[in-house]
């Protein structure tokens, strides 16, 4: 379970360009469910995901992840939580060019100190699951959009996270691939993971697997559906 208690995020505080990306927000995201944050571009979706995913700290307010208050934790602990608890799927995939698909997938697990052979075995299982085994040794810049998306999902799952966070995951996919992506997310939810997606794509928030939709606009949650 993830809970936001009057969390607020201000960029450039005290400067002329001060901008409040997220106004005081209290929110409860239930575990083992698929939740969508729905809103137009610039509404604060990514900021909200960044705060939940321990990528940034709120300017004020508190955030609890799986029962642990994370706002006051030092960076080292935040990183540890980010690595162990969350798997991220980014809008632009954010794969590292020059590396193979396999190397990209095992990147999040490097700091854990596990042996490479163990990581490769785990990655092989994910490649098989997403039917991209043939591409595991290919450099990521040679992959198609759909393949890159699946490599990104595999990377998000390498540390077996409890929560999968996806930011505008279908922005660069056609309808067929978007449908496949949502089906995959549904499977992850069925496995017992919490899935949190930020999107303004109806193929996402109208998908039958989605259990809860929060509406966000101008940095405020202004509604909820389902």
């Amino acid at each position: 379970m993830i809970a936001l208690d009057r969390a607020r995020k201000v960029f450039g505080q005290g400067r002329p360009n001060e901008f409040t990306a997220l106004h005081e927000t209290s929110l409860l995201i239930e575990a083992d469910r698929m939740t969508v944050i729905r809103g137009p571009s610039g509404s604060g979706k990514t900021t909200l995901l960044s705060l939940i995913g321990c990528m940034a700290r709120p300017t004020s307010g508190r955030i609890h992840v799986l029962g642990r208050e994370i706002t006051s934790l030092p960076e080292r602990f935040l990183t540890e939580i980010r690595r162990r608890t969350f798997g991220f799927i980014f809008q632009q995939f954010h794969l590292i060019p020059g590396l193979t698909a396999l190397e990209n997938v095992i990147l999040p697990a490097y700091p854990t100190g596990e042996r490479r052979s163990v990581l490769e075995k785990r990655a092989a299982g994910l490649f098989e699951l997403f039917d991209i085994t043939a591409k595991s040794r290919s450099r990521v810049e040679w992959l198609s959009g759909g393949e890159a998306q699946r490599v990104t999902i595999a990377r998000a799952l390498i540390n077996d996270p409890a929560v999968v966070i996806a930011d505008e995951p279908t922005a660069h996919l056609d309808s067929k691939l978007s449908g496949e992506f949502m089906a995959t997310m549904g499977r992850l939810r069925d496995e017992g993971r919490t899935v949190l997606i930020a999107s303004h794509d109806p193929l996402v928030y109208d998908h039958p697997s989605v259990e809860r939709v929060f509406h966000i606009r101008d940095g405020r949650i202004d509604g909820e559906s389902r």
Binding site: S50, M55, T79, E80, F88, Q92
Partner: protein, 350 residues
């Protein structure tokens, strides 16, 4: 590329300078321990062979002998030769043994005639009997070995005079004492010790190496600019990379360690490649790029392959001057990028 070029140039200068110094010291090891010259009004003058007895009388002097040698300017090719009467195995009158440089410059071989201008007027025609081996070309390139009779015909030196006297002593630790005794007994002489010659060679090549290093300052400056450029900012790709790594769970220390190894691998590879290229350049191609500066100007250049010799302390210094600054230059900006929140790094990249 700039990195490899810099290491290549600096290592070439270092390897060439130290190898030439090493070569010179090896050659001079065979040189006499002491050379006695006569000076008149501060300038060198032929030395009377009657001095030999006075020197021989000094306790500790093992042997001494007069040498006949002098520089001869050949107007035909515009080169200077060193004419020398060897202590033993001198050529028969009318014949000469020439160094490889002279043979090249004059395009002469055994059986050919080389003309010399006599002091009394007229030409002395001497036949080339043989050419000195290439092995000792650093010192023998411009040599012409002649008989005493032919030497005197060219230089006009009287029979009782020599160019200088060389002496060998029984105990090298007595060298300075013996030199003082000679100077006391023969006040018109100047004594040159082998160590002084070695020091002069050392100084000459260090100075030339220094001049080259100064010329390479431009390359060093380029390297500093490259390093500074690296230290003052990361490319958007590198920032993105660090943002992604942080986002997927890398700690700041993981990123810095990775960047350090990346910088270390890049700089070590460039260093190794630069040193390897320099080694090939110096010892297989006789340091062609710098040879004119290091060897000095001459019409008659010695052609020789340097004996491979690597001064480890110099290479270590070069290592610390190049690898360490580069590695640090890669860490600083990575550290600056990695201490910020990953979302800040990612924001500008979406």
């Amino acid at each position: 590329m700039v990195y490899i070029l810099l290491v290549f140039l600096m290592a070439s200068v270092m390897l060439a300078t130290s190898a030439i110094r090493k070569e010179a010291s090896l050659v001079l090891r065979e040189a006499p321990e002491m050379v006695i010259q006569r000076t008149v009004a501060g300038r060198q003058d032929p030395i009377p062979l009657s001095y030999l007895d006075q020197i021989r009388d000094i306790p500790g002097v093992m042997s001494c002998e007069g040498r006949l040698w002098g520089y001869y300017y050949d107007p035909v090719v515009g080169a200077n030769y060193t004419l020398l009467v060897p202590g033993s195995g001198e050529p028969a009158p009318g014949t000469i043994t020439i160094g490889p440089g002279v043979a090249r410059t004059r395009t002469s071989g055994p059986g050919d005639i080389v003309e010399f201008k006599k002091v009394a007027g007229g030409i002395l025609e001497l036949e080339v009997a043989s050419i000195l081996p290439d092995r000792s070309e650093l010192v023998s390139s411009d040599l012409v070995l002649v008989s005493p009779e032919d030497f005197r015909a060219v230089f006009g030196s009287a029979p009782g005079l020599a160019t200088d006297i060389v002496a060998r002593v029984a105990n090298p630790r007595e060298l300075v004492t013996i030199a003082e005794k000679i100077a006391g007994r023969l006040p018109d002489t100047r004594i040159i010790l082998r160590d002084e010659m070695l020091r002069t060679y050392d100084a000459v090549f260090s100075w030339r190496g220094g001049i080259l290093a100064l010329l390479l300052l431009g390359v060093m400056l380029a390297f500093v600019i490259v390093s500074w450029d690296k230290a003052s900012g990361l490319s958007p790709e590198e920032r993105r990379e660090i943002g992604v790594l942080k986002a997927v769970g890398w700690e700041t220390s993981d990123v810095i360690l990775m960047k350090f190894w990346e910088g270390a691998v890049v700089s070590l590879s460039a260093f190794s490649l630069g040193v390897l290229l320099a080694y090939v350049h110096v010892f297989f191609f006789s340091a062609r790029l710098f040879a004119p500066v290091l060897k000095g100007w001459a019409v008659l250049y010695p052609q020789f392959r340097l004996i491979p010799f690597v001064d480890v302390s110099q290479l270590t210094a070069l290592f610390f001057l190049t690898v360490v600054p580069y590695a640090v230059a890669t860490i600083v900006p990575s550290w600056r990028a990695s201490v910020t929140d990953p979302d800040a790094v990612m924001k500008g990249l979406r």
